[in-house]
Every structure is written in structure tokens, then in C-alpha cells.
């Protein structure tokens, strides 16, 4: 390994380092504040390193990992998201009576997995990244067991996530093995000239399909979405916030890279299947979200729908026109960022309103009734996030949806654009219902008896809210960044 490679890998090493340091520290000296500060510091340091390398051209570090603008962009997104998610979790953890420091260890390991995942252009790194992330995640989902009523839900969620994650990983592995059996290469670019030609045997076609199935589980595309609502509901909110953002975004980022670099878009049957998966995701996600009374479940179904919207842009990449392709890849990257911002706010607010000391999560409509008049700041942020999820202008979600729309229209995917319209219209109802609930007159006995919003949460939530609005009104900066980031995918 050369020094330049080492330099390129430095952010990953830093993240790995903090997880080891945290482990040693936890072994001898438990201190939540210190652990959180180490984690923040590590993430910031890694982010600064990644940002410092931006613009220095692609750098293949070992055959497994590539550091180019695309992976740097998503590493940065993941690190910043994780930082925000950790900061939002601090107060929640402080008030709960579980082992707190382990959250930081597991979280930094999951982030390590996510960063490795988005930087991989080889099946080995791809699999290591995805597993590192999933294994840490199912520990995170399950280990904070508290309260009699929540215990069963949490454990069920954890076991469900573990088993389905394991099944999906084995699908993934089998798919990789089949592709390898056919071509004898494991790097994405090595597949480029092989996959999707007329001579492609059924082995690699089945292999590619199985890889997609494995990833579809992680991305909760319909019909592989069954675990999502249960896990979202069962996991403690800070973990749900992380699960909903980082794990989804990193897997989506890599599936885009995989499809473009390996030429899998040339497998027409697969693309056709993806179209139907997208249609189902949008309809089922939005349709079932209409029926939910539990906010976490509602957001789970809404995230299924949003992943469906993302697929519209994803499938548009398959279109032949070069300029369209770029537009579509940009659309996925932009929408992912938008999705992160709005989901983080929504889950961040549920985190802030929850009372772990009473093993109670703010997940019913009653928790939000009259919030606007009791905590106008939080309610405004939540309202913005919901409007953004619904795709109303002046928010980042609108620009994202506009981008996706543009990609779909440019790719002439009329079926998908039509379903996108229907899905968005359905989506309005449940987002607005929540907004309406917040605007109702408060109950005489407020469900939330918390007095002060902790400073950390206030800072993070206002920063995210500001990002949501500023990018919603002046999207140009992010568009330029995204444009530069996806230009390397060819």
C-alpha cells in the first residue's frame, strides 16, 4: 500500500480509529459526554479530510475502494448526517437507563460500513461495507430494551431485522457468486464490457437479479418492504433516524454506481422488473401510509414511497441519451440529500418529544395535537419537514421532486410519472393530517410534559430547517455540487 493510497483511506481509518478508541474507553471509563465528543470529533475530522481531498481527482485505493468525487460527496453526506443524528440522540440517551456508550461504538461502526460501502467499486468491499453496517444496525435496533411495553416490540424488531438482513445478505452473496462464476471478475468496471450483452448467460442474469433482490431488502422496495414499519416502530427513535437516513442513502448511492459502472442497465428484463418495483413502492408505500395511526409507522411507509420516487430517477438513468442520464443521476443524488434532511428533521422531532425515562416514544397523533401552540419552534420545523416530504415549493423536497419529475419526463417514463403524481397526491393526505393535528387546539392535558428543548437538538434542528429552506429557495449551490459529484460515473 502506498502513501497516497493511505492518504486517500485516511477518513476511513479515522472512523475505524474512533470506534476502537471508544471501545477501550468504554471498557475502563464510562462517560457519555466524553464518548459523544469523541464521536463528534471523529466525524468532523473525517469530514474535513474528505472535504480536503475534494477536487483531487479519482484515487483507487487498493483494488477494493475508489475515492472519487462521487464517493467523497456521499461520504461527506453520510458523515454530516451521522453527526446530526448523533447530536440529536444525545439527550434521548442521557435520559434513558441503558448502556449509552455502546450506541456511539455501534454508530461509528455503522458509519464506517456506510463510508466503505459508498467508496467501493468491487464486490468484496461492497459486501464488507453492507455487512458492517447491517450488523451494527441490528445491534443498535435491539440493545436498548427498556420498559415492559416497549420490550416486546423492540426485540421483535431487532430479530426481524437481523433475520431479514441475513437473508438479504445471502441473496446478495449468492448473486455475486453467480456473476463471478460467469465472468470471473469482482470489480464493477470489470463487468462493464460483459454484463448485458446478448451473449450474457442466464447465470449472470440471475446473479444480477439476486443482487438487486438483496439490495431491495435493505432499501425496502416493495415487495421486500415488510420489515420496515415494524423495525421503524420497534427501534428507539434515534436509531430509526439513523436507519432511515444513512443506511438507505448509502445503499442507494452504491446501487446507482453499481448499475452504471457494471452496465447492468443493459439487462432489459431487470430494468422492466425495476419499473414494476417502483410502481408498487410508490403505490403501496403511500397507500398503506394512509391507514397508519402511529407516526413512526407512517414515516416508515412514507420512506418506502420516497424510495419509490427515487427509483423513477434511477430507472431514467437507463435512458439512452447522455444528457438525460446525467440529469437522472443528479436527480437521485439531489433527492437523497433532500430525503435525508427532511427525514432527519421528522425523526429528530420525535426524538426530542419522546420520553425514554418513561419508555414512551412520541409516536401517536395525540403527541402532536396542538403542538403548534405549545412548542411553536418544534412544530414549525416539523411542519416544514412534512411540507417538504409532501413536495411543496420553497422546500428542498420540492426541488428534489421537481428533479425527479424532470428526469422521468426527460426519460419519457410516462407510467412512472403518472404513478408519481398519484402517489404524491395520496401522500398529501397523511402529511397534511399530521399538520392539521399540530394546528388543532391542544388537549387540556398535554401529552408532552417536557419543559425545555435541549440546546443540542435546538441547534441541529434549526440548522436542518435552515438547510431545508435555503436549498429549497436557492438550490443552485447543491445542484452544482451534485453535478460535479456525479460527473465521474461513466
Amino acid at each position: 500500500m502506498t502513501m497516497t493510497e493511505l492518504h486517500a483511506l485516511l477518513p476511513i481509518i479515522v472512523i475505524a480509529g474512533i470506534s476502537v478508541v471508544l471501545m477501550v474507553m468504554t471498557a475502563f471509563f464510562r462517560h457519555q459526554r466524553l464518548a459523544s465528543l469523541i464521536t463528534y470529533g471523529g466525524f468532523i475530522a473525517a469530514a474535513v479530510l474528505v472535504a480536503g481531498q475534494t477536487g483531487s481527482g479519482p484515487q483507487q485505493a487498493t483494488p477494493l475502494l475508489i475515492m472519487d468525487e462521487y464517493s467523497r460527496f456521499f461520504s461527506l453526506v453520510i458523515l454530516v448526517t451521522s453527526l446530526a443524528a448523533t447530536m440529536l440522540a444525545y439527550d434521548y440517551l442521557r435520559r434513558s437507563d441503558v448502556f449509552k456508550e455502546e450506541y456511539y461504538i455501534l454508530l461509528s461502526l455503522a458509519v464506517l460500513g456506510a463510508v466503505v460501502l459508498v467508496s467501493s467499486n468491487h464486490f468484496a468491499a461492497f459486501f464488507i461495507g453492507i455487512e458492517l453496517m447491517s450488523v451494527s444496525l441490528f445491534a443498535m435496533v435491539g440493545y436498548m430494551v427498556q420498559g415492559r411495553t416497549r420490550r416486546a416490540v423492540t426485540l421483535e424488531a431487532s430479530v426481524k431485522y437481523m433475520i431479514l438482513s441475513g437473508v438479504s445478505s445471502s441473496f446478495l452473496l449468492f448473486g455475486i457468486a453467480l456473476v463471478y462464476a460467469d465472468f470471473g471478475v469482482l470489480s464493477f468496471s470489470g463487468l462493464h464490457s460483459l454484463l448485458g450483452l446478448h451473449s450474457t448467460s442466464s447465470y449472470s442474469q440471475i446473479g444480477a437479479a439476486m443482487i438487486v433482490v438483496g439490495l431491495a431488502f435493505k432499501l425496502s422496495w416493495v415487495p421486500f418492504h415488510m420489515w420496515t414499519p415494524d423495525v421503524y416502530e420497534g427501534a428507539p427513535v434515534p436509531v430509526t433516524a439513523f436507519l432511515a437516513t444513512v443506511s438507505k442513502v448509502s445503499v442507494f448511492a452504491i446501487i446507482v454506481r453499481f448499475f452504471i459502472e457494471s452496465g447492468a442497465f443493459r439487462l432489459e428484463a431487470l430494468v422492466q422488473a425495476l419499473v414494476w418495483i417502483a410502481v408498487l413502492s410508490m403505490l403501496v408505500g403511500n397507500g398503506l401510509a394512509l391507514l397508519q395511526q402511529n407516526i413512526k409507522r407512517l414515516l416508515a411507509y412514507s420512506s418506502i414511497a420516497h424510495l419509490g420516487y427515487l427509483m423513477v430517477a434511477f430507472i431514467a438513468i437507463a435512458g439512452s441519451n447522455l444528457a438525460n442520464t446525467n440529469l437522472a443521476v443528479e436527480a437521485t443524488a439531489f433527492y437523497l440529500v433532500a430525503y435525508i434532511v427532511m427525514s432527519l428533521i421528522a425523526f429528530g422531532i420525535i426524538t426530542t418529544l419522546s420520553s425514554p425515562e418513561r419508555a414512551e416514544e412520541a409516536e401517536t397523533l395525540a403527541h402532536f395535537r396542538g403542538l403548534f401552540w405549545q412548542k411553536p419552534g418544534l412544530a414549525t420545523a416539523m411542519g416544514l419537514a412534512l411540507l417538504s416530504l409532501a413536495g411543496i415549493p420553497l422546500t428542498i423536497g420540492f426541488v428534489g421532486k421537481f428533479y425527479v419529475f424532470a428526469a422521468g419526463v426527460a426519460g419519457q417514463l410516462w407510467l412512472l410519472v403518472g404513478v408519481l403524481i398519484v402517489g404524491s397526491a395520496l401522500g398529501l393526505y397523511y402529511y397534511l393530517r399530521l399538520i392539521m393535528e399540530m394546528c388543532k387546539a391542544p388537549d387540556t392535558e398535554p401529552a408532552i410534559s417536557r419543559e425545555e428543548t435541549p440546546l443540542e437538538n435546538r441547534v441541529v434542528l434549526s440548522a436542518l430547517g435552515l438547510v431545508l429552506l435555503v436549498i429549497g429557495i436557492f438550490p443552485n449551490g447543491l445542484i452544482t455540487t451534485v453535478h460535479a459529484a456525479v460527473a465521474v460515473l461513466r
Partner: protein, 138 residues
């Protein structure tokens, strides 16, 4: 000779073996059905036909250390696998390889340290720990 044909010449013993194994197992499973006599006495359904009568349910909680034992085994077994792979190429990888292996082992050590401090190596049951504590207190 084509690739497919050579594959068949190479594989046919394996296929035969598989067929034989399946045949033998089916024979063993089906044989008693035809050969054995059938009686329906009170003790026929019990796990041990001649022995102690089992008490209670067969589904009981396996103590957690059992899983820990398994996990520890997996971790150290896996470590050995990696080190074997390194050992094969120890000269080619040189000092860089050595440092990498060292990092790997150190991380495992840290994990062990953490587990030790957490009490994962203390395999007594909850009750045993409590009794020991009360003995010490006395």
C-alpha cells in the same frame, strides 16, 4: 472434447456418489417402516423408551453464556483463518503486511478487553454472582 463433455467426465463420480448417498438414506429411513413391528403402547411416544421419565417442557431457556461461547469461538476461529491466509504470503507482503496483521490482532484484542470488562468472560449465572456477592459481604 468440449468443455461440457469434460465436465461430465469429471463430475460423474460425484453424481454417482450423491445418488448412492440419497439412496442409502432413503433405504435406511424407509426400511424400518416395512420391517419393524408396530405396537402402540403407552411408552411408545416417549423420548426414552426404557429410562427415566422426562419432567417438564423440552423448551427451556438456554443460558446466555452458551451463545457467548459460540461467538467467542467464531471470533477466534475467524482470526485464525485470516492469519493463515497471511501466513501463506508472509514474505511477499513484507512489513506492510505485518503491520496490517498487527492492527487486525490489536483490534481483536481491544474487543476482547472490552468484552472482559463488560463481564462477558464471567460465566456464572445471575444467581451464582449474587450468592458470591452475599458470601463476600458476610
Amino acid at each position: 472434447m468440449s468443455y461440457g463433455a469434460s465436465l461430465i467426465t469429471h463430475l460423474w463420480p460425484l453424481v454417482l456418489f450423491l445418488v448412492l448417498v440419497i439412496g442409502l438414506i432413503s433405504l435406511m429411513l424407509a426400511g424400518p417402516y416395512f420391517l419393524g413391528s408396530r405396537r402402540n403402547a403407552r411408552a411408545t411416544g416417549e423420548p426414552y423408551e426404557c429410562g427415566i421419565v422426562p419432567v417438564g417442557s423440552a423448551q427451556y431457556h438456554v443460558p446466555i453464556p452458551f451463545y457467548l461461547f459460540a461467538i467467542f469461538f467464531v471470533i477466534f476461529d475467524l482470526e485464525a483463518v485470516f492469519l493463515f491466509a497471511w501466513a501463506v504470503a508472509v514474505r511477499e507482503t513484507g512489513w506492510a503486511g505485518f503491520i496490517e496483521a498487527l492492527v487486525f490482532i490489536v483490534i481483536l484484542l481491544v474487543a476482547l478487553l472490552y468484552l472482559w470488562r463488560l463481564g462477558a468472560l464471567d460465566w456464572r449465572t445471575f444467581r451464582q454472582k449474587r450468592d458470591r456477592a452475599s458470601v463476600l459481604l458476610r
